[in-house]
């Protein structure tokens, strides 16, 4: 770790990485056009942009996964050809990918060494262990043992291991693509501290995130892309979140509010009484009325997401009583919960959400097939109609219905995932775990609008989130949670600072 000279820390002026006229198209459609920027040694440079702006394409070109059609990438003044991820790594480019690429079956140590081209053929175990322990400590992961299998770790901890792997490679350029999407705020702070340390050693950092306040907090410079072109490169100190949003969208977004006073038909409510999940959730009770949006505010491990998973039947060991529209919900099996009118959108879109090889149409219809025919026989006409109606509802072109869901961007995939639960007569409660995880601002607004419309149509909407902006924007009632318990309940507006205090170090409410 310490063999890199830390001379450049004070002088970020010298461009260490420069990108000139980068262009790349797909099948004649330009995804990135003439993008240029430079990143100095020790500089943390943010790459921001709306869905389809070209961020991921730029990241893929910088990390050797895609070849540019034209343009040049230089490191230390030398034009480089990054033919593959391995080649890029040899030239000093480390990448933390948007999707987890750690291997659950291996230990923490093995994962850290995985794909490190500088690792010697014969492992020197003790040296590796010491280095591993140091890297973990830097990320506040002292509690993890290097020999622990990754499968014992939470999603957030796995993401931290992935970050640790990139930061430990002594790279000249570290690219982090949405590294904090699955992290709690405390974990995010550790990642930021580690990024700052790496930058102080003279490494260039490119940081891609949808969390704009994070971007402004962490980064020195912000480059905004829109429709594949560079819109602006501005020092972060001269920017506010709304400036950034304007640069990204070209217009200021508006806030969403309830369209009508929430219904209070007591019979339609979701009544949760003394819901418990051993080790994860302690005595949770809530009555949620139809037509309103309920937000569960809690970091990883707070129990917020476990409330939803228990209701969806994914915690078979859960206990308590749950009634929906005055009928008991058999919440110890997912089939029972679904039959009672509960629809669940998991925070893990890839492994617990979409059927990525199947078409967009098949995904939109996946949970409503019985409603599209009679006695188990499907009607093609009704299928087509339903798919088209849903595509229109979630804002995806009807021409794309036959494409595999994997071809969609993250934001559009999430729209399909949410859309799958909408417009069904047999769904009364919609549960969403991190409804806009890894989704850009535009997609996020669209999904929020869908959820608001669903509530207005009489659904009970209950979501868990770790993002303050989302909680405040969407929740009619906000319930804060910490360490498996409910902490507070806020109706008709709440202060972000209060929520944050509840979620991180507040006192437990009675």
């Amino acid at each position: 770790m310490s063999d890199v000279t830390s001379a450049a820390a004070g002088a970020p002026a010298r461009p260490q990485v420069s990108v000139t006229g980068l262009t790349r198209g797909f099948g004649g459609v330009p995804a990135v056009q003439d993008v240029s920027f430079t990143v100095g040694a020790g500089e943390i440079h943010a790459l921001c942009g709306h869905n389809g702006a070209g961020k991921s394409t730029v990241v893929k070109m910088l990390s050797g996964q895609l070849a540019p059609d034209s343009g040049r990438i230089s490191i230390d003044g030398q034009p480089v050809r990054l033919g593959s991820r391995q080649a890029a790594q040899r030239l000093g480019v480390a990448l933390v990918d948007q999707e987890l690429s750690v291997v659950p079956a291996l230990t923490v140590l093995d994962n850290l060494l995985l794909g490190d081209v500088s690792a010697p053929l014969v492992n020197r175990r003790r040296a590796a262990l010491a280095r591993c322990a140091q890297v973990l400590a830097d990320l506040g992961l002292d509690r993890l043992r290097p020999q622990q299998p990754l499968s014992e770790l939470s999603i957030g901890e796995r993401q931290l291991v992935e970050v640790a792997r990139a930061l430990s490679q002594n790279a000249r350029l570290v690219i982090l693509d949405e590294p904090t999407a699955t992290l709690s705020d405390a974990e995010t702070e550790y990642v930021f501290a580690a990024i700052r340390r790496v930058a102080a050693r003279g490494c260039s950092v490119i940081f891609v995130s949808h969390r704009l306040s994070e971007v402004l907090e962490l980064c020195d410079t912000v480059t905004v892309l829109r429709d594949g072109r560079r819109i602006a490169t501005t020092p972060a100190s001269e920017l506010t979140v709304s400036d950034l949003i304007v640069q990204m969208l070209g217009e200021a977004p508006h806030r969403l509010t309830a369209a009508r006073p929430p219904d209070s038909l007591p019979g339609d409510a979701l009544r949760i009484e003394h819901l418990r999940v051993p080790g994860r959730l302690t005595d949770f009770s809530l009555t949620a009325q139809a037509g309103r949006v309920y937000a569960l505010a809690g970091q990883l491990g707070s129990g917020a997401s476990d409330v939803l998973r228990a209701l969806a039947g994914l915690h078979p060991q859960a206990t308590g009583t749950v009634r929906l529209r005055d009928r008991a919900v058999p919440f110890r099996s997912p089939v029972g919960a679904a039959a009672a009118g509960v629809a669940f959108v998991s925070n893990d879109r890839k492994s617990e959400g979409l059927f990525l090889d199947k078409t967009i149409a098949a995904n939109l219809l996946a949970t409503r097939l019985p409603a599209l025919g009679r006695a188990g026989l499907l009607s093609s006409r009704r299928e087509r109609q339903a798919a088209r109606t849903l595509a229109e509802l979630v804002g995806i072109s009807g021409h794309r219905l036959g494409e595999p869901a994997a071809a969609l961007s993250g934001g559009n995939q999430q729209k399909v995932f949410v859309g799958r639960c909408l417009g069904r007569d047999d769904v009364y409660a919609l549960l969403l775990d991190e409804p806009t995880r890894g989704v850009d601002i535009g997609g996020r607004t669209a999904i929020h609008r869908l959820l608001r419309a669903a509530a207005d149509a009489g659904l009970i909407v209950l979501f868990a989130s770790t993002e303050l902006e989302e909680l405040l924007e969407l929740g009619d009632v906000i319930i804060t949670m910490r360490e498996t318990r409910m902490v507070g309940r806020y109706e008709g507006g709440a202060d972000g600072a209060v929520l944050m205090r509840d979620m991180t170090h507040g006192a437990h409410a009675a």
Partner: protein
């Protein structure tokens, strides 16, 4: 990691001109196929290494066949169809189970043997009753295995090896290890050959059509594709994973039972070795047809093609005087080739 880039809206597959993506509503037929997850999505149709390979093999068979006397004759075509029928019927059931994500069963031979014994032992009640009893026993034995796999997530391979030993053991125990002979031969009608083809061939063709329709046009069939592709997602979505798995295995059981009935009728007696290598022959046909062993992709029609291709190659080798050993060897190479092609396809899809 996904094949799709996260950021550029229009380009699902870089090498396809935009016009090649058909509109969803182009015609009832294509959209039904597109929506029924089985068919590969039109948006990213690339040349599939498996399909290229299969075409090459088929061409090789045709060319060699043309150079072989009596290969292209009506009688030989009948022979190929006839030899496909027994394995083919079972393979159709195996396809359904594989699509639904339960990989394979290694208890097929034993189940077919027991069904054949039951069928022969109940001949005195009449043909219809014997067939019904045979089907019921086949469905019961196999659906039970499916229930354990569907509801308790047992590993299909380990579990069906165990079930296979148990079923074979019970069969040997009850029959006393001897051959079962029927009291009366009510089954003789099953060996008829209308239009020169064994009855089993018609059952195979009808079964393929029925399975294809079931997989594409019914709720349960479509759930099978979803469950097979991503069981965790299917579970979280509240899809009836257990029930659908049992349905798939029940269909498989009925197919195995039909094969058992035809085997019994043809042999007019049944001993413990009657099922032979049916388990592996059926799996080979499904794999050569290109159904994904991991689940979620495939079709009964493809399996019919796979079964016919294997039969045609065996027939060709037989006509050219190669030994049974060589025939088996070639079958092995064919399956190996498909496994490699499927692997290449999967690796490409990821890249």
């Amino acid at each position: 990691m996904t094949a799709a880039d996260n950021d550029h809206r229009p380009a699902p597959a870089p090498d396809i001109p935009a016009g090649a993506v058909p509109a969803y509503q182009a015609s009832a037929d294509t959209s039904a196929q597109a929506a029924s997850a089985g068919g590969r999505a039109p948006g990213r149709r690339r040349t599939d290494p498996l399909d290229i390979g299969i075409v090459v093999v088929v061409l090789a068979v045709i060319v060699t066949g043309a150079l072989t006397t009596r290969f292209f004759s009506l009688a030989n075509a009948r022979a190929i169809l006839a030899s496909t029928a027994w394995v083919g019927i079972t393979a159709i059931g195996a396809t359904v189970v594989m699509i639904a994500g339960s990989a394979v069963s290694l208890a097929v031979s034993q189940t077919a043997t027991v069904v054949a014994m039951i069928f022969l032992a109940t001949q005195q009640f009449g043909l219809a009753a014997a067939i019904v009893l045979a089907l019921l026993s086949g469905v019961a034995m196999t659906a039970l295995q499916g229930a354990v796999i569907g509801f308790w997530a047992a590993n299909p391979i380990a579990w069906t090896i165990a079930a296979g030993f148990a079923i074979g053991g019970v069969a040997t125990w009850i029959s006393g290890g001897t051959t079962v002979y029927p009291q009366v031969a009510a089954f003789s009608g099953l060996n008829d050959t209308p239009l020169g083809l064994p009855l089993a061939v018609y059952v195979l063709l009808a079964g393929t059509a029925a399975a294809e329709w079931f997989l594409r046009r019914t709720t349960a069939g479509r759930h099978m594709y979803l469950i097979g592709e991503n069981p965790a997602a299917a579970r979280a979505a509240g899809l009836p994973v257990g029930r659908v798995t049992v349905i798939a295995w029940a269909i498989f059981g009925a197919c195995i039972a039909l094969t058992g009935v035809f085997l019994a009728a043809f042999n007019t007696s049944a001993n413990a070795g009657l099922g032979g290598t049916l388990s592996l022959d059926a799996i080979a046909a499904v794999l050569v047809g290109g159904t994904a062993i991991g689940g979620g992709k495939g079709s009964a029609l493809r399996t019919l093609g796979g079964a016919l291709l294997i039969s045609a190659i065996s027939d060709l080798l037989l006509l050219r005087g190669f030994s049974t050993g060589i025939q088996l060897l070639v079958k092995g190479i064919l399956v190996l080739f498909v496994v490699i092609a499927v692997h290449v396809r999967a690796a490409r899809g990821r890249g």
